[in-house]
């Protein structure tokens, strides 16, 4: 069972209160982008065994979107953070480094 702390209402919400929103920190390529960029934006996703960043929504709760960093292999949660950011904050990256030295995910490490 996955339990994530919602950074907006402070509740430790278990999985059935939450809706998964897919990979975090996608950059949108829309009108004016190349076909390859648009293709990658639509279809190309990380599928790691280990550290992963995702979007979640506290749908049966305060209704807010937020971000979570967790391990897909162990379900260990490194932390959750605000939706109002385009990249993982330093304290989240530090928390992951403490548990998984040498981790990488997309361009982050």
């Amino acid at each position: 069972m996955l339990i994530l702390n919602c950074p907006y209402c402070g509740v430790d919400a278990e999985e059935t209160e939450l809706a998964a929103g897919g990979e975090a920190h996608l950059k949108r390529f829309g009108p004016g982008s190349s076909d390859d960029e648009f293709h990658d934006y639509l279809f190309m996703r990380e599928n790691p065994k280990g550290v992963h960043f995702e979007r979640w929504r506290h749908s049966n709760g305060c209704g807010k979107w937020f971000h979570a960093a967790r391990c897909t292999q162990t379900l260990e949660v490194f932390g959750t953070y605000s939706a109002q950011t385009t990249e993982p904050p330093k304290e989240i990256k530090d928390a992951i480094t403490a548990k998984r030295p040498g981790w990488t995910w997309r361009e982050y490490e």
Binding site: C9, V11, A13, E14, T16, C62, G63
Partner: protein, 188 residues
């Protein structure tokens, strides 16, 4: 003008706790910047209550205010006063970036009372409801089996539950099953 009637018109059930549909309750959804003084005053004028902090609920009978999210409040007022209170609130908030809407007829309200009240709700929501974790003055939005619901405590043995009116029958049936005689679990 037809006479307004609540979803289940005061239906009740007696089991390990007493479950009752509370009847008509005035409710205003208020969205805006909760740190705004104009908004806080509008809430105070409507309910007599101060601005709630995160997951706080200040409710006294049919009046009160509940924290729903960082930019949303649930304002409770007596049903017959809701139009007047909403008009006053809308007036007070003109020029403020905020939105107030009467949602009274979109909701149903239940009370669960008795020494096993926590237990009845605890069977339906993935929420820690021990007296250590949940107390009068707090609100929790969650799910009741398969539908969304919010609840707070009027006192240590009374929970009040709000759900969508369209799910009122479903929620009442859930609560009845959870309150069946002999179904005490003894956790709380």
């Amino acid at each position: 003008m037809s006479e307004p009637i609540s979803a289940l018109n005061h239906a009740s059930y007696d089991g390990i706790a007493k479950v009752q549909e509370c009847g008509l309750q005035g409710m205003i959804t208020l969205r805006g910047d909760l740190s705004d003084k104009v908004l806080a005053k509008a809430v105070k004028d409507a309910t007599g209550q101060k601005m709630p902090g995160q997951r706080e609920a200040f409710v006294d009978g049919e009046s009160g205010v509940c924290w729903m999210s960082p930019d949303e409040l649930l304002v409770l007022v007596p049903y017959v006063e809701v139009e007047a209170k909403l008009a006053a609130m809308t007036n007070a908030l003109s020029g403020t970036h905020a939105l107030a809407v009467n949602v009274s007829d979109a909701r149903a309200v239940f009370s669960i009372s008795g020494s096993s009240a926590r237990e009845v709700l605890g069977k339906l929501a993935p929420v820690e409801l021990s007296s250590k974790a949940f107390q009068p003055g707090q609100i929790r939005r969650s799910r009741l089996a398969q539908v969304a619901g919010a609840f707070w405590m009027d006192d240590d043995q009374t929970l009040r539950v709000v759900c969508f009116r369209s799910a009122a029958d479903y929620v009442f049936n859930l609560l009845k099953v959870a309150a069946q005689p002999g179904s005490e679990v003894g956790v709380y």
